[in-house]
Protein backbone atom coordinates (compact mmCIF):
# COMPACT_ATOMS: atom_id res chain seq x y z
CA UNK A 1 0.00 0.00 0.00
CA UNK A 2 1.43 3.35 -0.97
CA UNK A 3 1.05 5.92 1.76
CA UNK A 4 0.53 9.60 1.13
CA UNK A 5 0.75 12.69 3.27
CA UNK A 6 -2.74 13.51 4.58
CA UNK A 7 -4.05 17.05 4.21
CA UNK A 8 -3.45 19.32 7.18
CA UNK A 9 -6.97 20.15 8.46
CA UNK A 10 -6.12 23.89 8.70
CA UNK A 11 -3.80 26.42 7.08
CA UNK A 12 -0.09 26.40 7.96
CA UNK A 13 -0.46 29.74 9.73
CA UNK A 14 -3.71 28.83 11.51
CA UNK A 15 -2.12 28.05 14.86
CA UNK A 16 -0.15 31.33 15.04
CA UNK A 17 1.10 32.73 17.36
CA UNK A 18 1.13 29.53 19.44
CA UNK A 19 2.76 27.36 16.80
CA UNK A 20 4.30 29.30 13.95
CA UNK A 21 3.74 28.86 10.24
CA UNK A 22 7.47 28.25 9.87
CA UNK A 23 7.38 25.41 12.37
CA UNK A 24 4.46 23.76 10.57
CA UNK A 25 6.10 24.25 7.18
CA UNK A 26 8.98 22.09 8.38
CA UNK A 27 7.10 19.82 10.75
CA UNK A 28 4.31 18.94 8.35
CA UNK A 29 5.92 19.75 5.01
CA UNK A 30 9.36 18.22 5.65
CA UNK A 31 9.39 15.87 8.65
CA UNK A 32 5.95 14.29 8.17
CA UNK A 33 6.52 14.09 4.41
CA UNK A 34 9.94 12.46 4.90
CA UNK A 35 8.46 9.76 7.14
CA UNK A 36 5.87 9.02 4.41
CA UNK A 37 8.54 8.89 1.69
CA UNK A 38 10.92 6.75 3.77
CA UNK A 39 8.15 4.34 4.68
CA UNK A 40 7.08 3.90 1.05
CA UNK A 41 10.67 3.10 0.08
CA UNK A 42 11.34 0.75 3.00
CA UNK A 43 8.24 -1.44 2.62
CA UNK A 44 8.90 -2.26 -1.04
CA UNK A 45 9.50 -5.98 -1.39
CA UNK A 46 8.78 -6.72 2.29
CA UNK A 47 5.81 -8.43 3.91
CA UNK A 48 4.57 -4.95 4.86
CA UNK A 49 4.24 -3.83 1.25
CA UNK A 50 0.45 -4.11 1.43
CA UNK A 51 -0.02 -3.68 5.16
CA UNK A 52 -1.91 -0.85 6.81
CA UNK A 53 -0.25 1.48 9.31
CA UNK A 54 -1.75 -0.23 12.37
CA UNK A 55 -0.28 -3.58 11.30
CA UNK A 56 3.10 -1.95 10.72
CA UNK A 57 2.98 -0.33 14.16
CA UNK A 58 2.08 -3.62 15.83
CA UNK A 59 4.44 -5.91 13.94
CA UNK A 60 7.32 -4.13 12.22
CA UNK A 61 10.80 -3.39 13.62
CA UNK A 62 13.58 -0.94 12.84
CA UNK A 63 13.16 1.60 10.06
CA UNK A 64 9.76 0.36 8.92
CA UNK A 65 8.39 0.65 12.45
CA UNK A 66 10.05 4.04 13.06
CA UNK A 67 8.77 5.62 9.87
CA UNK A 68 5.35 3.91 9.97
CA UNK A 69 4.72 4.96 13.56
CA UNK A 70 5.94 8.49 12.85
CA UNK A 71 3.49 8.79 9.92
CA UNK A 72 0.64 7.71 12.20
CA UNK A 73 1.79 9.81 15.18
CA UNK A 74 2.07 13.02 13.19
CA UNK A 75 -1.30 12.56 11.48
CA UNK A 76 -2.85 11.99 14.89
CA UNK A 77 -1.03 14.95 16.47
CA UNK A 78 -1.86 17.44 13.71
CA UNK A 79 -5.50 16.39 13.69
CA UNK A 80 -5.75 16.88 17.49
CA UNK A 81 -5.06 20.58 17.03
CA UNK A 82 -7.19 23.38 15.69
CA UNK A 83 -7.20 27.18 15.54
CA UNK A 84 -10.42 26.97 17.59
CA UNK A 85 -8.86 24.75 20.23
CA UNK A 86 -8.40 25.13 23.93
CA UNK A 87 -10.86 25.07 26.77
CA UNK A 88 -11.93 21.85 28.42
CA UNK A 89 -13.45 18.56 27.27
CA UNK A 90 -17.12 17.81 27.85
CA UNK A 91 -19.38 14.78 28.04
CA UNK A 92 -18.09 11.22 28.51
CA UNK A 93 -14.41 12.18 28.03
CA UNK A 94 -14.66 14.85 30.74
CA UNK A 95 -16.26 12.30 33.06
CA UNK A 96 -13.59 9.69 32.34
CA UNK A 97 -10.81 12.24 32.95
CA UNK A 98 -12.36 13.17 36.28
CA UNK A 99 -12.69 9.54 37.22
CA UNK A 100 -9.11 8.61 36.27
CA UNK A 101 -7.25 11.74 37.39
CA UNK A 102 -9.53 13.48 39.89
CA UNK A 103 -10.03 16.62 37.82
CA UNK A 104 -9.19 18.13 34.45
CA UNK A 105 -6.53 20.32 36.07
CA UNK A 106 -4.91 17.32 37.74
CA UNK A 107 -4.89 15.51 34.38
CA UNK A 108 -3.40 18.53 32.63
CA UNK A 109 -0.65 18.81 35.21
CA UNK A 110 0.21 15.13 34.98
CA UNK A 111 0.20 15.10 31.18
CA UNK A 112 2.30 18.30 31.07
CA UNK A 113 4.81 16.76 33.44
CA UNK A 114 5.05 13.62 31.34
CA UNK A 115 5.65 15.73 28.23
CA UNK A 116 8.22 17.95 29.98
CA UNK A 117 10.21 15.12 31.54
CA UNK A 118 10.41 12.75 28.58
CA UNK A 119 14.17 12.70 28.00
CA UNK A 120 15.24 13.07 24.39
CA UNK A 121 12.79 12.76 21.51
CA UNK A 122 9.33 11.28 21.87
CA UNK A 123 5.63 11.65 22.60
CA UNK A 124 3.34 12.05 25.59
CA UNK A 125 0.05 10.17 25.21
CA UNK A 126 -3.36 9.97 26.78
CA UNK A 127 -4.58 6.42 26.15
CA UNK A 128 -7.56 4.25 26.91
CA UNK A 129 -6.79 0.84 28.37
CA UNK A 130 -8.68 -2.42 27.90
CA UNK A 131 -10.72 -1.74 31.03
CA UNK A 132 -11.80 1.66 29.68
CA UNK A 133 -9.60 3.56 32.13
CA UNK A 134 -7.48 6.47 30.98
CA UNK A 135 -3.74 6.52 31.45
CA UNK A 136 -0.83 8.83 30.57
CA UNK A 137 2.19 7.20 28.94
CA UNK A 138 5.54 8.44 27.66
CA UNK A 139 7.04 6.92 24.53
CA UNK A 140 10.56 7.55 23.18
CA UNK A 141 11.31 8.39 19.57
CA UNK A 142 8.57 6.88 17.35
CA UNK A 143 6.89 4.96 20.18
CA UNK A 144 3.17 4.36 19.70
CA UNK A 145 0.89 2.85 22.40
CA UNK A 146 -1.09 0.78 19.84
CA UNK A 147 1.81 -1.63 20.05
CA UNK A 148 0.86 -2.36 23.67
CA UNK A 149 -2.83 -2.67 22.83
CA UNK A 150 -3.69 0.76 24.23
CA UNK A 151 -5.97 3.16 22.35
CA UNK A 152 -4.50 6.66 21.79
CA UNK A 153 -6.82 9.57 22.60
CA UNK A 154 -4.43 12.55 22.57
CA UNK A 155 -0.73 13.10 21.95
CA UNK A 156 1.86 15.85 22.28
CA UNK A 157 4.98 15.70 20.11
CA UNK A 158 8.03 16.62 22.19
CA UNK A 159 10.69 16.01 19.56
CA UNK A 160 12.66 19.26 19.53
CA UNK A 161 11.63 19.83 15.90
CA UNK A 162 8.04 20.36 17.14
CA UNK A 163 8.96 23.52 19.04
CA UNK A 164 12.59 24.54 18.66
CA UNK A 165 12.07 27.35 16.11
CA UNK A 166 9.42 28.91 18.35
CA UNK A 167 10.52 28.06 21.89
CA UNK A 168 14.12 26.68 21.72
CA UNK A 169 15.05 25.02 25.02
CA UNK A 170 11.79 26.12 26.68
CA UNK A 171 9.76 22.96 26.16
CA UNK A 172 7.34 23.83 29.00
CA UNK A 173 6.31 27.02 27.15
CA UNK A 174 5.42 24.92 24.12
CA UNK A 175 3.43 22.47 26.25
CA UNK A 176 1.47 25.38 27.70
CA UNK A 177 0.41 26.67 24.26
CA UNK A 178 -0.29 23.10 23.14
CA UNK A 179 -3.31 23.13 25.49
CA UNK A 180 -4.65 26.23 23.72
CA UNK A 181 -4.58 24.31 20.42
CA UNK A 182 -6.15 21.01 21.49
CA UNK A 183 -9.51 20.47 19.79
CA UNK A 184 -11.56 18.71 22.45
CA UNK A 185 -14.40 17.97 20.01
CA UNK A 186 -12.07 15.78 17.98
CA UNK A 187 -10.36 14.26 21.01
CA UNK A 188 -13.72 13.58 22.68
CA UNK A 189 -14.95 11.92 19.49
CA UNK A 190 -12.03 9.49 19.61
CA UNK A 191 -12.91 8.54 23.15
Amino acid sequence: MKFSLPQLPYALDALEPRISKRTLEFHYGKHHQAYVNNLNKLILGTKFENADLETIIKEAEGGIYNNGAQVWNHTFYFSSLSPNGGGVPTGPLAEAINESFGSFDAFKEKFSEAAATLFGSGWAWLVKNDDGKLEIVKESNAGNPLRQGKVPILTCDVWEHAYYLDYQNKRPDYIQVFWDCVDWNIVGGRF
Partner: protein, 200 residues
Protein backbone atom coordinates in the same frame (compact mmCIF):
# COMPACT_ATOMS: atom_id res chain seq x y z
CA UNK B 1 32.54 19.40 44.76
CA UNK B 2 29.98 20.62 42.33
CA UNK B 3 30.57 20.39 38.59
CA UNK B 4 30.93 23.66 36.74
CA UNK B 5 29.78 24.70 33.32
CA UNK B 6 33.08 25.22 31.46
CA UNK B 7 33.79 28.38 29.51
CA UNK B 8 34.24 28.03 25.77
CA UNK B 9 37.70 28.61 24.26
CA UNK B 10 36.13 30.75 21.52
CA UNK B 11 33.29 33.24 21.05
CA UNK B 12 29.74 32.10 20.32
CA UNK B 13 30.03 33.47 16.78
CA UNK B 14 33.49 31.95 16.17
CA UNK B 15 32.16 28.85 14.40
CA UNK B 16 30.04 30.83 11.91
CA UNK B 17 28.92 30.14 9.27
CA UNK B 18 29.05 26.43 10.11
CA UNK B 19 27.40 26.72 13.51
CA UNK B 20 25.58 29.98 14.23
CA UNK B 21 26.06 32.16 17.31
CA UNK B 22 22.45 31.82 18.51
CA UNK B 23 22.66 28.03 18.46
CA UNK B 24 26.00 28.07 20.28
CA UNK B 25 24.77 30.42 22.98
CA UNK B 26 21.54 28.53 23.72
CA UNK B 27 23.30 25.18 23.44
CA UNK B 28 26.03 26.19 25.90
CA UNK B 29 24.19 28.38 28.41
CA UNK B 30 20.79 26.69 28.41
CA UNK B 31 21.18 23.03 27.44
CA UNK B 32 24.67 22.37 28.82
CA UNK B 33 23.91 24.69 31.73
CA UNK B 34 20.79 22.68 32.61
CA UNK B 35 22.63 19.34 32.44
CA UNK B 36 25.27 20.76 34.78
CA UNK B 37 22.85 22.07 37.39
CA UNK B 38 20.64 18.97 37.22
CA UNK B 39 23.67 16.70 37.60
CA UNK B 40 24.75 18.66 40.66
CA UNK B 41 21.23 18.41 42.10
CA UNK B 42 21.18 14.65 41.47
CA UNK B 43 24.49 13.94 43.24
CA UNK B 44 24.31 16.49 46.04
CA UNK B 45 24.65 14.81 49.40
CA UNK B 46 25.43 11.39 47.90
CA UNK B 47 28.79 9.63 47.69
CA UNK B 48 28.92 10.58 44.00
CA UNK B 49 29.54 14.18 44.99
CA UNK B 50 33.28 13.51 45.43
CA UNK B 51 33.76 11.42 42.30
CA UNK B 52 35.04 12.50 38.90
CA UNK B 53 32.58 12.52 36.01
CA UNK B 54 34.49 9.60 34.43
CA UNK B 55 34.10 7.54 37.62
CA UNK B 56 30.39 8.34 37.78
CA UNK B 57 29.81 7.31 34.16
CA UNK B 58 31.81 4.08 34.53
CA UNK B 59 29.20 2.75 37.01
CA UNK B 60 26.21 4.70 35.77
CA UNK B 61 23.96 1.63 35.56
CA UNK B 62 23.86 1.67 39.36
CA UNK B 63 22.61 5.25 39.55
CA UNK B 64 19.39 7.09 38.80
CA UNK B 65 18.15 8.14 35.37
CA UNK B 66 18.90 11.73 36.42
CA UNK B 67 22.59 10.89 36.92
CA UNK B 68 22.75 8.98 33.64
CA UNK B 69 21.01 11.66 31.57
CA UNK B 70 22.58 14.73 33.12
CA UNK B 71 26.00 13.20 33.78
CA UNK B 72 26.12 12.13 30.15
CA UNK B 73 24.90 15.53 28.99
CA UNK B 74 27.53 17.27 31.13
CA UNK B 75 30.45 15.13 29.87
CA UNK B 76 29.36 14.98 26.22
CA UNK B 77 29.06 18.73 25.82
CA UNK B 78 32.40 19.31 27.61
CA UNK B 79 34.01 17.14 24.96
CA UNK B 80 32.01 18.63 22.10
CA UNK B 81 33.13 22.23 22.75
CA UNK B 82 36.76 21.12 23.01
CA UNK B 83 36.90 19.14 19.79
CA UNK B 84 35.71 22.15 17.80
CA UNK B 85 37.66 25.32 16.97
CA UNK B 86 37.31 28.22 14.54
CA UNK B 87 40.68 27.18 13.08
CA UNK B 88 39.54 23.61 12.55
CA UNK B 89 38.84 21.38 9.60
CA UNK B 90 41.20 19.68 7.22
CA UNK B 91 42.65 16.31 8.12
CA UNK B 92 44.38 14.78 11.11
CA UNK B 93 48.09 13.99 10.84
CA UNK B 94 50.71 11.79 12.46
CA UNK B 95 49.76 8.77 14.53
CA UNK B 96 46.03 9.57 14.55
CA UNK B 97 45.90 9.67 10.76
CA UNK B 98 47.85 6.41 10.58
CA UNK B 99 45.42 4.76 13.00
CA UNK B 100 42.42 6.04 11.06
CA UNK B 101 43.88 4.73 7.78
CA UNK B 102 44.67 1.39 9.38
CA UNK B 103 41.23 0.91 10.91
CA UNK B 104 39.01 2.48 8.22
CA UNK B 105 41.08 2.18 5.02
CA UNK B 106 41.31 5.92 4.44
CA UNK B 107 40.33 9.24 6.01
CA UNK B 108 37.54 9.56 3.43
CA UNK B 109 36.13 6.16 4.37
CA UNK B 110 36.28 7.04 8.05
CA UNK B 111 34.36 10.24 7.35
CA UNK B 112 31.71 8.36 5.42
CA UNK B 113 31.27 5.83 8.23
CA UNK B 114 31.01 8.61 10.79
CA UNK B 115 28.54 10.57 8.62
CA UNK B 116 26.36 7.48 8.36
CA UNK B 117 26.40 6.92 12.10
CA UNK B 118 25.45 10.56 12.70
CA UNK B 119 22.73 10.67 10.04
CA UNK B 120 21.10 7.35 10.90
CA UNK B 121 20.85 7.78 14.68
CA UNK B 122 17.06 7.91 15.05
CA UNK B 123 15.87 10.52 17.54
CA UNK B 124 18.33 12.28 19.82
CA UNK B 125 21.91 11.16 20.39
CA UNK B 126 25.59 11.33 19.51
CA UNK B 127 27.96 9.93 16.89
CA UNK B 128 31.41 8.94 18.16
CA UNK B 129 34.92 8.03 17.17
CA UNK B 130 36.05 5.76 19.97
CA UNK B 131 39.41 4.30 20.93
CA UNK B 132 38.83 0.83 22.27
CA UNK B 133 40.89 -0.71 25.05
CA UNK B 134 42.96 -2.64 22.49
CA UNK B 135 43.83 0.63 20.71
CA UNK B 136 41.53 0.04 17.74
CA UNK B 137 39.38 2.92 16.50
CA UNK B 138 35.67 2.37 15.91
CA UNK B 139 32.74 4.57 14.93
CA UNK B 140 29.25 4.27 16.40
CA UNK B 141 26.41 6.19 17.98
CA UNK B 142 24.55 6.31 21.29
CA UNK B 143 21.00 7.40 22.11
CA UNK B 144 20.11 10.54 24.06
CA UNK B 145 23.02 11.52 26.35
CA UNK B 146 24.56 8.07 26.71
CA UNK B 147 28.23 7.72 25.82
CA UNK B 148 30.94 5.07 25.37
CA UNK B 149 32.32 5.60 28.89
CA UNK B 150 29.07 4.28 30.38
CA UNK B 151 29.02 0.69 31.58
CA UNK B 152 25.55 0.27 30.08
CA UNK B 153 26.59 1.46 26.59
CA UNK B 154 26.85 -1.05 23.75
CA UNK B 155 29.58 1.09 22.18
CA UNK B 156 32.46 1.14 24.65
CA UNK B 157 35.84 2.86 24.85
CA UNK B 158 37.34 6.32 25.09
CA UNK B 159 35.50 8.88 22.97
CA UNK B 160 38.00 11.05 21.08
CA UNK B 161 35.56 12.78 18.71
CA UNK B 162 31.83 13.31 19.20
CA UNK B 163 29.04 14.95 17.25
CA UNK B 164 25.82 16.03 18.90
CA UNK B 165 22.85 15.10 16.72
CA UNK B 166 20.09 16.22 19.06
CA UNK B 167 17.91 18.55 17.02
CA UNK B 168 18.80 21.41 19.41
CA UNK B 169 22.37 21.22 18.04
CA UNK B 170 21.33 22.26 14.53
CA UNK B 171 17.64 23.05 14.20
CA UNK B 172 17.79 26.87 14.21
CA UNK B 173 20.17 26.87 11.24
CA UNK B 174 19.61 23.57 9.42
CA UNK B 175 16.08 22.48 10.52
CA UNK B 176 15.33 19.02 9.05
CA UNK B 177 18.59 18.91 7.08
CA UNK B 178 20.80 17.02 9.51
CA UNK B 179 23.21 15.87 6.75
CA UNK B 180 24.08 19.52 5.97
CA UNK B 181 24.95 20.11 9.62
CA UNK B 182 27.12 16.98 9.63
CA UNK B 183 28.95 18.21 6.51
CA UNK B 184 29.50 21.63 8.10
CA UNK B 185 30.87 20.06 11.30
CA UNK B 186 34.01 18.80 9.50
CA UNK B 187 35.05 22.43 8.91
CA UNK B 188 35.38 23.10 12.62
CA UNK B 189 36.87 19.85 13.94
CA UNK B 190 39.88 20.50 16.16
CA UNK B 191 42.14 17.65 15.01
CA UNK B 192 44.91 18.71 17.38
CA UNK B 193 42.60 18.14 20.34
CA UNK B 194 41.31 14.84 18.91
CA UNK B 195 44.95 13.67 18.46
CA UNK B 196 45.69 14.64 22.06
CA UNK B 197 42.80 12.50 23.26
CA UNK B 198 43.94 9.66 20.99
CA UNK B 199 47.44 9.68 22.49
CA UNK B 200 46.32 10.10 26.10
Amino acid sequence: MAFELPKLDYAYNALEPYIDAQTMEIHHTKHHGAYTSKLNAAIEGTDLANKSIEEILANVSQHSAAVRNNGGGYYNHNLFWKIMTPNGGGKPSGQLLEAIEKDFGSFEQFKETFNNAAASRFGSGWAWLVKQENGKLVVGSTPNQDNPLMDLSELKGTPILGLDVWEHAYYLKYQNKRPEYIDAFWNVVNWEEVAKRFSA
